[in-house]
Amino acid sequence: MNSKQNNNKNTRILEAQGVEKVVTLGQETIRILEPINLAIKAGQSLAIVGKSGSGKSTLLGLLAGLDQPSAGSIHLAGHALTDLDEDQRASVRAQYVGFVFQSFQLMPNLTALENVMLPLELLDEDKPQQRAMEMLNHVGLSHRLKHYPKQLSGGEQQRVAVARAFVTRPALLFADEPTGNLDRATGSRIADLLFQLNEENNTTLVLVTHDPSLAARCELEITIDGGRLAACGVSETDMPPQALGQEGLQ
């Protein structure tokens, strides 16, 4: 297991307090996210669901440190993201975070293998090529190593993205509609892959989805509606709720 992994199931890997997002458009101020509190422990999986435009992707971006909240604080693996500048947040992302996106977001000019090698190289880790090949093999793409993204099908591209996300064995994986652009069967295979790797690597999974079946596979689920935390629930698993909620439930 990777040293960066936080195996202690009681450690809060991600914690948000009073996180809100307000944008100003000309004279108008738009409140995209009302203050939200949440915490998630290492190895858990959390689904963020809600209608289009409800603010769930915004929340994901804030939690992953891709953007800064207008108020509140976010701690990721012990780092107060809200106190860090963009470059420091980039370091935290490189070290702890993996991403899978709806539109795959592969580097168009790099091959499948090179795309997967990239995060390893950014971390200056040993044997990036070998590890990337193993990972691609793991997701069933050993025959597609030298292919460029545009030569791959949607499902294959997403598998490359998943391989890229897991190759560094991140403590946290953020996925934004990971099956949104795929047909049901392919989407289901990608979801299997995500949860399998989540299981194998004890990676904490935070995913935004429209897909109730995908959400149902997560231990935790929150619903965002109009920028507010509308509901929080526990999936069928027997994990206790991690005190999610607007009122800062613990």
Binding site: S57, G61, A90, S91, A94, S103, Q105, L118, D124
Partner: protein
Amino acid sequence: MSLSLRIRLALKLCWREWKAGELTILLVALLIAISSHTAIGFFTDRIEKAMTYKAGDMVGGDLVIHSSRPLKASGSESWQSRANAAQLLHTTVHFFSSVVLHGEEMLLVSVKAVGDNYPLKASLKTSTSAYGEGQTTRNGPPTGEAWVDARILNDLSMEVGQALTLGAVTLTVSRVLIFEPDRGGSMYSFTPRVMMHKGDLARAEVIQEGSRVDYHTLLSGESDAIAEFKNWMTPQLEPGQKIITPGEQQPTVGGALTRAQRFMGLASLIAVLLAAVAIAVSAKHYSARHFDASAILRCLGCKQNDLMFIYLFQMLLIALVGSILGIALGWSAQFILLYLLKDLLPEVVPAADWHAAWSGLGLGLVVLLGFTLPSVMRLRAVSPLRVLRKDLKPLPLSGWFVYGSALLIVIALMWFYTGSLILTLSVLGGAVLVFLLTLLLIALLFVLLEKSSGLLSLSMRAGLRNLLRRKGETLVQTLAFALTLMAMLVVIFIRTDLLNNWQQSLPDDAPNHFVINILPDKVPLFENYLREQQLVSSKIYPMSRGRLIEINGVPVKQAVTKEEKNNESLNRELNLTWSDTVQEENKILSGTWWQEGQVSDFPEVSIESRLAKKLGVKIGDRLTFFTGRQNWQAEVTSIRAVKWESFHPNFYFVFNPSSIEHLPATYMTSFYMAPEQKILLKDMVKAFPAITVFEMDAVLDQLKAIISQVIVAIEYVLLFVLAAGLMVTLAAVQASLDERLQEGALMRTLGAQRDLIRRSQWSEFGSMGLIAGIVAVLGTELVSFLASRYIFQADYSPLWWAWAFVPVAAALLLALLGTFSARKVLTKSPMLVLREGQ
């Protein structure tokens, strides 16, 4: 991120970009800029080196005194005794034009008569046959012999060992001249050289009092002694005399060559600027295409500086590769320039040094980094959140910053090219004005096109819509292309139109021969001779040499403006004449001409109008002249317009006869001689050995040949400009290709046939070319009109051929280029395009 990782990643991404064709336009545009810059740089460097090569040897001594009269003893001590006392070697060389004969053939030559100890420095190189192997000699020809340029043997159909006649003397041609150390500026003279011994001059009877002879007194010795002699001699110099020391002399390059070099420099600057536009357009597109990749990299943990490093490293790499390839290409291209101008150049042109290569490298870095930096800086600012929200674009940099920095670089480049800030700013001002006017015209034509689009077919309307939708880019592309075409047209038009105009303005029987050095006692005989031979001639004018030294008592160099200090007419002896009547084709602009036979108390002079304007001379001003050994004054009583190109004898200053007819003079005239009468020239020179005939028809032909050679070279350089101009279009098409692909795919999905799209592309690029062509011809017409009117004073005639040909050709060229570079729109599967575009 470690440095090695940054470099590895930058190299890897750069290689991928290159393979994907993303960097081609950047690289090719840079290649054009650098190769045109270095080709001109290498070429100019070699020419300058050829000019200054062995400056001392070219001057022919450690000190040379140029004089239009033999140096006389001055004060109590003659210059010879002073030089001898200082142990300086010295010799005087005589230069003059004359005609030599061999059998039936005759030729105008430039004679150089040398003494026993010529050359003082360096050596002559001669051979025993034309174009034979050279031998070095430390002395000139002995008496009775002549050494000649190989060309003379050809022109006179003679061989070494045969005799030629110069005036009254017959000389045996014993050697062929290959190299004269002090030939220097006359390297480009039209007339070939005959070198003879001074001892034969008297027998030849070609130099009489008043003949035009240049005397070069060469001195050589210890540098202290030379410096002391120079200090002693300088205050004693008379007008028409000057001291030259090696290194001091500005190498005199043929005027055509200097102008060509300047023009090439300017053309190269235009190529560099156009390439810079292509680079900027391409970089903007490159940047836009990398927003996503930057966001992914940021998302994966790349810091802003890592990104900046990766992209800047790529740009640096392109700058280096582009510059080095450009330098290599430029180095090869200069050989073509040398070849095109080979007849104008000395036989041996030294190799260029690496200066042009270094400046090419520097230019490559400045142009590429300068024009891509604003775009690359935007990539640094891409938010990682873009991975979730594609609409999130980095804030555009301030327009002031982008355009301000571009303008600064342009000014710096122009400064670098012109070497003068004032010139740079004024050229820039002019260029901005031309830009704005051209832009306005193009915009106007687009409006017209838009208004008339209702009359067009569906495909043409679709093409026009495309064109007008990208108005900003369209304007820039059309402007670049129009200016490029205009530059090329102006050059072509200068060659064909004005040369023709000028020739047409001369009547068929316009004089084509000048004859000077007619001795006073031979004038009636010469007039008789012309009449007998039925040669139509101008009036015969006396000619005396003198110098203008004061205007209203103020030394002339103080009296004129700073710009006119170096006016050629102030720095040499002028031909002065006198006449009772106004010359043919001269027009009195102000003042009055004297009455025939009128004797005035004070000498009167009529001055040519352009010189009067330059020197600020008005009616009533008193001018002081120096002739022979005395100063004397004359009052300006009229100002004349002179038609110099009429080939009649014309003068800056014409005096009332009573004023100066006492001065020693020879006479001159011009006459027309048909080609079939040429044989008469030989008789004429035999009958009047002192005269010098200038065959202007030959000179004219030679001049035309030189001009067309120079123009070919300029056109060659303009090819770089055209290539750079086309790169702007290519860069713009590439920048809009994604959008075009999407639209094309959508249209094809909706059922549009490829033919419709193809036709709409043709109409889009074709109308752009058409408008650029029209604007270019309009601009050229304007230049042609102004040049005809104010520079060449010829009649202006519209460029019908250009109207008929250029807009259509430009439309075709752009349509071909545009449809070719956007061919993917037609060939790529719409499904693939739509899928990739998701």
